[in-house]
C-alpha cells in the first residue's frame, strides 16, 4: 500500500505522451464531428435570429413529426417493458434447459442493422402501419430489458423476498412491495435506453412508416434530401439534440437520486428450478412466446428472400431494376467496412490508450468528448458531413466520405470495447513479468502486445459490424457509385415490383448473416472478458 498513490500519478513525461497520443483522435473528432455539427447549428441559427426555429415550430407537418417522435417513443418503451417481462422473469428466477440459449437469442435482433429489422417486418407484410413500427421497436429493444433488468433481478438476495413472505405477504404482494422497488433503478436505466433508441429511430421508421409516420430523424432526412430545406433540417437537428440531452440529463439526475446500496449475490445462488406444473408451464410459455416473437420476423425474412422462385438471390449477381448491381453494393460495403475499421481502430485504440492511462484530467475529459458522437444521432452526423465537408477540400465528391462517417460512428464502440482490456495491463502485471525474469523487451512482447492485439481485434469486429449496417449517416452522403448494402436495400424497398422486393429480402438476409458472423467472432475473442456494455 505504502507509496502507491505516488506511483499512480503520471510523471511529466507521461502527460506529454498522453497528449501526443490524443493528437490524432482530437483532430479526427474535431474535423469530423465538432466542425460539422457546428455547421449544422450555424445553419439553424444564421439569418434572422430564430426564424428557422419559428418556421419549424409553426409548421403543422413538423410539429406532427415532433409529437409523433415523443409519443411513439413512450409507447414503444412501455410495450417493450411489457413484452420483455415474461422472459426477464423466467431467466432471472429460474434455471432451466436452454436458458442461456434463449438469452442469446433475444440479443440477436439488437445486434442486427436497423435496416434488416425494418425489412423483416416488411417481409411480414406489415409496412405502412403504426403497429409495424411499434412491433419492430419492441423486437429490437427487448434485449435491453432482459439484460439490464434481468441482470439485477437474478442477483437480488432471495432472503429479502423470503422475509416478506414469512411476514405474511402473498407472492404478488412480495413482488410489488420488495422486488419491484429494488428493480426500479434497472427498470429506469432500461427504459431510458429504449426511449433514447426509439426517440432517435430512423431506419425502421423510414422503411416502415411509408412517409406517413415520421420521427424527427426521418423529418430531417425529408427536409434535407427530398425538399432541400437545409435551415429547417438544421433547426430540427438542433431540437433533436436538445431532446436527447434532456433525456440523458433527466436519466443521470434520477440515477443519482435513486442510488440505493444493496447487497447483491451471485446468480448461481438465486436461480431455482421451476417446481410444480403451473410454474413449469409459465416458464415454458415465457420462453416459447419470446422465441416465437424473435423467430417469426427472422424466419419471415428468410422465407421472403426465396419468394419468386429465388429471383432475389439470382438478382444478386445480375443487373436488376436499379442502375447499381447488387454485387457492386456488396463490394462497396466490404471495402468501406475495411477502410472504416482501419480508421476506427487506429483512432479508437489511441483513444482507449489515453483513457486507460490513468485518472488525470486529460483522460477524464477526453472520455466525455469521445462519447459525444454516441449521443448525437447518425442522421445529424450524416447531415453535418453533407453541409460541412466541402472545406478545405471537397470530400463530398469522394468515396472516402462514407467510411469516414462509419468510422466516426464506430469509434465510441471501439473505445468502449478496448479500454477495459487495456486497463487490465496494470503496472503490476508488467512488474510481475519482470520479477519472473522477463527483460523489458520480453515484457512488451509477452504482455503488452498480446493484450493490445486482443483489444484491437475486438474493436475491429465491432467497427466492421457497425460499418456494414450503418444507414442513418450513409443515407445522407451516399452517391450512386458508393451505394452500400443497407442503402441499396432501402432503394429496392421503395420500388414497386416483386423482383425488387425479393432482392431486398435476399440482401437483408445476407447483411444479417455477415453481421451475425462478425458479432460471434467478437464474442469468441471476448470470452471471459468483463466488458462494459
Amino acid at each position: 500500500m505504502d507509496r502507491r498513490l505516488d506511483r499512480d500519478r503520471p510523471a511529466i513525461g507521461t502527460r506529454r505522451l498522453t497528449l501526443a497520443l490524443a493528437a490524432l483522435p482530437v483532430a479526427f473528432l474535431g474535423y469530423l464531428f465538432v466542425y460539422p455539427v457546428g455547421r449544422v447549428l450555424w445553419l439553424a441559427l444564421a439569418g434572422e435570429p430564430g426564424t428557422a426555429f419559428t418556421r419549424v415550430l409553426a409548421d403543422p407537418r413538423m410539429r406532427g413529426s415532433a409529437w409523433f417522435t415523443l409519443w411513439q417513443a413512450g409507447l414503444s418503451t412501455a410495450l417493450t417493458l411489457l413484452a420483455a417481462f415474461p422472459l426477464t422473469w423466467a431467466v432471472a428466477r429460474y434455471r432451466f434447459w436452454g436458458r442461456r440459449l434463449v438469452r442469446a437469442l433475444v440479443t440477436v435482433p439488437f445486434v442486427l442493422p436497423t435496416v434488416v429489422v425494418g425489412t423483416a417486418f416488411v417481409a411480414l407484410g406489415l409496412d405502412g402501419s403504426l403497429a409495424a413500427i411499434l412491433a419492430a421497436h419492441v423486437f429490437y429493444n427487448m434485449a435491453v430489458v432482459v439484460r439490464t433488468v434481468g441482470g439485477l433481478w437474478s442477483r437480488l438476495d432471495p432472503d429479502l423476498v423470503d422475509s416478506a413472505r414469512a411476514l405474511g405477504a402473498s407472492p404478488w404482494r412480495a413482488f410489488r412491495t420488495v422486488t419491484l422497488p429494488l428493480l426500479r433503478p434497472a427498470i429506469a436505466a432500461a427504459s431510458s435506453i429504449v426511449f433514447l433508441f426509439t426517440f432517435t429511430s430512423f431506419g425502421v421508421v423510414l422503411i416502415l412508416g411509408n412517409l406517413r409516420w415520421r420521427t424527427i430523424e426521418v423529418e430531417i432526412y425529408h427536409q434535407a434530401i427530398t425538399f432541400l430545406r437545409l435551415p429547417a433540417a438544421g433547426a430540427l437537428a438542433v431540437l433533436q439534440m436538445v431532446g436527447v440531452t434532456a433525456i440523458l440529463v433527466l436519466y443521470s439526475r434520477y440515477q443519482e437520486r435513486r442510488a440505493v446500496r444493496m447487497r447483491l449475490v451471485a446468480e448461481h445462488q438465486t436461480l431455482r428450478r421451476p417446481t410444480g406444473v403451473r410454474l413449469k408451464v409459465a416458464v415454458a410459455a415465457a420462453v416459447l412466446g419470446t422465441t416465437a416473437a424473435v423467430m417469426i420476423p427472422l424466419g419471415g425474412l428468410v422465407v421472403a428472400s426465396f419468394a419468386n422462385g429465388g429471383a432475389g438471390w439470382r438478382f444478386l449477381t445480375q443487373p436488376g431494376p436499379l442502375a447499381t448491381r447488387p454485387v457492386e453494393a456488396i463490394g462497396n460495403s466490404l471495402a468501406f467496412a475495411a477502410v472504416a475499421t482501419l480508421m476506427a481502430v487506429a483512432v479508437g485504440t489511441l483513444s482507449a490508450l489515453v483513457v486507460s492511462r490513468g485518472s488525470g484530467l486529460v483522460s477524464r475529459w477526453f472520455d466525455v468528448v469521445l462519447m459525444l458522437p454516441l449521443g448525437t444521432s447518425a442522421v445529424t452526423i450524416g447531415f453535418g458531413f453533407l453541409v460541412a465537408l466541402d472545406r478545405p477540400v471537397d470530400l463530398r465528391a469522394t468515396w472516402i466520405l462514407v467510411p469516414l462517417a462509419h468510422a466516426l460512428v464506430a469509434v465510441p464502440f471501439v473505445v468502449r470495447a478496448a479500454a477495459p482490456i487495456l486497463r487490465s495491463v496494470r503496472p503490476e502485471v508488467r512488474e510481475a513479468a519482470t520479477m519472473l525474469g522477463a527483460s523489458p523487451r520480453r515484457v512488451f512482447a509477452e504482455i503488452d502486445l498480446p493484450i493490445v492485439a486482443r483489444a484491437v481485434a475486438v474493436g475491429a469486429g465491432f467497427a466492421a459490424a457497425i460499418s456494414l449496417g450503418e444507414f442513418g449517416a450513409t443515407s445522407f452522403i451516399v452517391r450512386p457509385n458508393t451505394i452500400t448494402i443497407p442503402t441499396l436495400i432501402f432503394r429496392l424497398l421503395s420500388r414497386p415490383g416483386s423482383v425488387s422486393f425479393a432482392a431486398a429480402m435476399a440482401m437483408a438476409v445476407l447483411l444479417a448473416a455477415l453481421t451475425a458472423a462478425l458479432i460471434m467472432a467478437v464474442d469468441r475473442v471476448r470470452a471471459g472478458e468483463v466488458g462494459s456494455f
Binding site: A432, A438, S439, I447
Partner: protein
Amino acid sequence: MLQTTGLVKRFDGIEALAGVDLTVGDGEVVAVLGPSGSGKSTLLRVVAGLERPDAGRVLWNGEDVTDVPPHLRRFGLMFQSYALFPHLTVAGNVAFGLRMMGLSPDEVARRTEEALRWVDLDGFGDRPVEGLSGGEQQRVALARTLAPEPRLVMLDEPLGALDRNLRERLVVDTRRLLRERGATALYVTHDHAEADAVADRVAIMRDGRICQTGALEEIRREPADDWVADFVGAP
C-alpha cells in the same frame, strides 16, 4: 542470504525508507510487520529492484546486486493484487517464469504441473484466470512465484485480499509450502497472527525503519519501546 544496509528511499522528499538494515538467512522466513504506510511494500520493491534506493545497498551472499536489473536478480515477488496475466490460462501464468529461464517445453510443462500440485490446483491448468475465485487466484500467484525456485521469495500481503476464514486456512498452506521448498523468504503483512504463524523471525517496521527483530514472543516479552509494546500488544 539477503542483506540490506542503510536503505533509503524518498518520494517527493518524504522518506519511505529511512535506513533499513535487515538480514534474512538461508532458508529463513522473515515477516516484516508494520502498520500501513510504514514502508513495507517499498522495502520489497527496492529489494526486488523495481525501485532504486537513494542510498544503501542490497547484497545477496555478500555480492552487491543493487545495480542488477530486477529480471536478472532471480528474486520472486508475489503482489498483493496477484497481478495475474489476464490473457493467459492458469498454466500459462505458472509456466511464465519457467519459460523465461529458457527451459525446454517438456521441462516447462512438467514443472508447471508440479507447481500446480503444490497448491492443489492440478487440473486447473487450462482455465482462464478471470473466472477464478479469490482463493484460487491467490494460489495461482503463489505457484507462479515459487515455480522457478527463486533465490529469494518475497510476498507482499499475500493473503490481504481474502476473507478471514480463507486467510486462516491458506496461512497454514503457505507456511508449509515455504518450509517444504526450503525457501528464503521475506513476508510482508500487517497482521500479527499471520506473521507469527508464517515466520521464524519478525521485523517490526515503523516510519521507514526497522525498530526491532526477533521471534514475536520475545518482542512481546521485551519490547524495544512503548510504541512497539503497544503495536504488538505486550502485556
